[in-house]
């Protein structure tokens, strides 16, 4: 996983609450692998009409935000389905950070696994950032994960992120390798647990 430290680029406002993962990646694209170019179908039904033409009113289709690296939204971004493909679609499109007042729990867990930052600000700050980029679409937005700051125009906002997730993004950790380092502890737990909770094993199964 790529480490995340600093990011600078265009930020695209998506002024909606509860942007769920069905919106980010509609279910019919869940069959797709990343190799098939899943970034192409990011926000598919919001970006394109029934005939496959771009919807001019969807912000990501506007020239200034077409190559956005950041999206900014209202509360509860990424709620709903656990589909990690929603994160793949954002990432493979080129998005590296989502700014919102809150995020779906599973989504933000998936994001950190893939090097996508979820930066939480207040409702008023999210609205202010969206307002600024609506008025000056070319304004670059810079995010510093170490300092937990968003620089937008001439204003600096502080964002929050769970400290564990922050550390994970900064280091680009591999969870499996980390867990392997606890192999003995896991084995000891399993042995003690089998004695403590014999009923926890499915009947007829001897793992």
């Amino acid at each position: 996983m790529e480490k995340f430290t600093r990011l600078s680029g265009a930020a695209c406002p998506i002024d909606q609450a509860n942007v769920n993962t069905d919106q980010i990646l509609p279910a019919r694209f869940l069959k797709w692998t990343r190799q098939m170019g899943i970034g192409k179908v990011l926000f598919h039904d919001l970006r394109f009409d029934a005939e496959g033409r771009e919807r001019a009113d969807f912000p990501l289709n506007r020239p200034a935000w077409r190559d956005a690296k950041i999206v900014v939204a209202a509360r509860n971004f990424g709620c709903g389905s656990s589909r990690e493909s929603a994160v793949y679609a954002l990432y493979d499109y080129g998005i590296r950070c989502a700014i919102a007042p809150s995020f779906g729990d599973i989504f933000s867990g998936n994001a950190v696994q893939n090097g996508l930052l979820t930066a939480a600000v207040t409702d008023a700050e999210a609205a202010e950032i969206m307002d600024t980029i609506e008025r000056t679409p070319d304004v670059p937005v810079t995010i510093d994960l170490e300092a937990q700051t968003i620089v937008c125009g001439n204003k600096i906002f502080r964002f929050t992120i769970d400290p564990v997730r922050r550390k994970r993004l900064l280091n680009g950790w591999d969870d499996v390798a980390l867990t392997e380092s606890f192999r003995d502890r896991v084995a000891a737990f399993k042995a003690a647990d089998r004695a403590q909770r014999p009923w926890a094993v499915p009947r007829g199964e001897v793992p």
């Binding site: 909606q16 609450a17 509860n18 769920n20 069905d22 919106q23 509609p26 279910a27 019919r28 869940l30 069959k31 692998t33 039904d45 029934a50 509360r75 509860n76 709620c79 709903g80 389905s81 656990s82 589909r83 990690e84 493909s85 994160v87 809150s102 995020f103 779906g104 729990d105 599973i106 867990g109 998936n110 696994q113 893939n114 609205a127 769970d162 400290p163 564990v164 550390k167 969870d175 499996v176 980390l178 867990t179 392997e180 606890f182 502890r185 896991v186 737990f189 399993k190 647990d193 909770r197 014999p198 009923w199 926890a200 094993v201 499915p202 009947r203 007829g204 199964e205 001897v206 793992p207």
Partner: protein
């Protein structure tokens, strides 16, 4: 004296292997459920040349992509056929038991787990599906995870988690006749919002929760994720133990008695502290329908559609207007005047036998004014419904009696609501396009879907129940 603990604390500490200084814990996973959608995770294993650590604690089903109408074996769409074959190949390769298309136990993962006695009190259960919260109804700590975490669990049988906040949702009093667990779930979500429990593990408690059947509790816990919760849990009781006794994978004989003794300890201690608590009066809950594009857009059936002009803030007015535009509903009208084009009874939320009985009790001897599909939660539920003659009631009402799977809840098997069509649905998400591009979904209980079918518009089920035993 030891500190009083919540059920959530007890479940957490029973699975904690390591706690790092930064607060993240490595947890042991008792059951891992996988499905066709887990192919990304199996791909990650293949990439590393890794094995599945505990194949016998891992159970697979074919549910998300399986056809629920037409032939199950000759799947018309080759891409969908490939998804079903893929889970067969991946599970065979890793020695994982699969309840596949040919297995009489096939069904939706969140119906099959409890039905087979795989889901038990005190277990930690994960699955790459957000509705894994369902299994908390039996007193398990169960939550949905993404593909990277699925791969991690497959390789290690453990998962890294930070302990969530503990939230208790009390539902006091008694639910009135005609009011179902789905109404309780929607009432809670309408009250706290779809992010009202974000970052929390929720324990449902109080007499109205206790009075729910196990199947009702499964519906309530299923919808926890729609309030943003990591998981929802209900302390196991005699009803739980009675439900589990004799199920294929549950402990039997003396083992069962010993298990019940352990499970009986799984309750919140008196005076244990929660981080957050809310309380609702169960007696105040009426049959509920959703009007918008989020499960929090839910109102009692006798209410009126919100009017953006009457909303307090400009922000809220815009959100209401956007939702009504998508739904094709005029502001301010009666919910009961909204005509529907089709109905769907199915999904991990509401397709267990009691759900089918509740819908059939309304539909018996009546005709549906609109087409619709009934898809049982599992093949065993389907079989039982047929033994009880419920399939005949649905067919005679004019509805289609399908096979079991996720079906029209998520539409990835091709069972879709057409663009612009309005569907009264027992499912869990009324998101834009959830049941197909341009589809308009109204969420409600199975009995309320049946009432909408009988009238051809959203309707109160209670008058239809007069003189009938629901």
């Amino acid at each position: 004296m030891t500190e009083p603990l919540t059920l959530i604390d007890k479940l957490w500490s029973a699975h904690e292997i390591v706690r790092r200084d930064d607060g993240e814990s490595l947890l042991w996973v008792d059951r891992h459920y996988v499905h066709e959608g887990s192919f990304h995770a199996f791909g990650k294993l293949a990439g590393r040349g890794a094995a599945v650590a505990e194949p016998r604690l891992t159970f697979a089903v074919a549910d998300h992509y399986v056809p629920t109408r037409g032939s199950r074996r000759d799947i018309a769409n080759p891409e969908i056929g490939r998804m079903v074959r893929q889970v067969e190949e991946n599970t065979a390769k890793h020695g994982i038991r699969l309840f596949g298309l040919d297995d009489p136990r096939q069904g939706i993962v969140h119906v099959v787990g409890p039905e087979q006695g795989l889901t038990l009190p005190g277990l930690l259960i994960v699955c790459g599906d957000s509705h894994t919260s369902t299994h908390g109804a039996l007193g398990a700590y169960a939550f949905g995870i993404g593909a990277s975490e699925v791969a991690h669990v497959l390789m290690t049988q453990t998962i890294w988690q930070k302990k969530p906040q503990r939230m208790r949702i009390m539902v006091t009093g008694h639910a009135a006749p005609g009011v179902a667990a789905k109404d309780m779930a929607l009432a809670i979500i309408a009250r706290i919002g779809t992010d009202g429990a974000t970052g929390c593990a929720v324990e449902y408690a109080g007499p109205a929760v206790r009075a729910l059947t196990i199947e009702g509790r499964l519906t309530l816990c299923n919808m926890s994720i729609e309030a943003g919760a990591r998981c929802g849990v209900i302390a196991p009781d005699d009803a739980t133990f009675a439900y589990l006794k004799g199920r294929p994978y549950a402990p039997d004989d003396a083992d069962f008695e010993r298990a019940v003794a352990a499970w009986s300890q799984l309750a919140t201690d008196a005076d244990a502290a929660f981080d957050r608590e809310i309380s609702l009066d169960g007696g105040e809950i009426a049959p509920i329908v959703t009007w918008g594009t989020s499960p929090e857009d839910a109102l009692p059936i006798d209410a009126r559609v919100p009017d953006p002009a009457r909303e307090g803030s400009a922000d809220r007015a815009k959100r209401v207007r956007d939702a009504l535009d998508y739904m094709g509903i005029a502001p301010g009208g009666r919910l009961m005047d909204i005509a529907v084009d089709r109905v769907f009874i199915g999904s991990c939320t509401n397709a267990r036998i009691e759900d089918l009985r509740a819908a059939a009790a309304v539909l018996a001897g009546r005709r549906s004014k609109v087409p619709g599909l009934v898809s049982a939660g599992s093949s065993l539920v389907k079989q039982q419904a047929e033994q009880e003659g419920l399939d005949r009631i649905f067919r005679e009402a004019g509805l289609e009696w399908g096979e079991s799977g996720c079906s029209m809840c998520v539409g990835i098997n091709g069972d879709l609501v057409a663009p612009g069509e309005r569907c009264a649905s027992t499912t869990n998400r009324n998101f834009r396009g959830r049941q197909g591009p341009g589809a308009r979904t109204h969420l409600m209980s199975p009995a309320m879907v049946a009432a909408a079918a009988v009238h051809g518009h959203l309707a109160d089920v209670r008058p239809l129940l007069a003189g009938r035993s629901a």
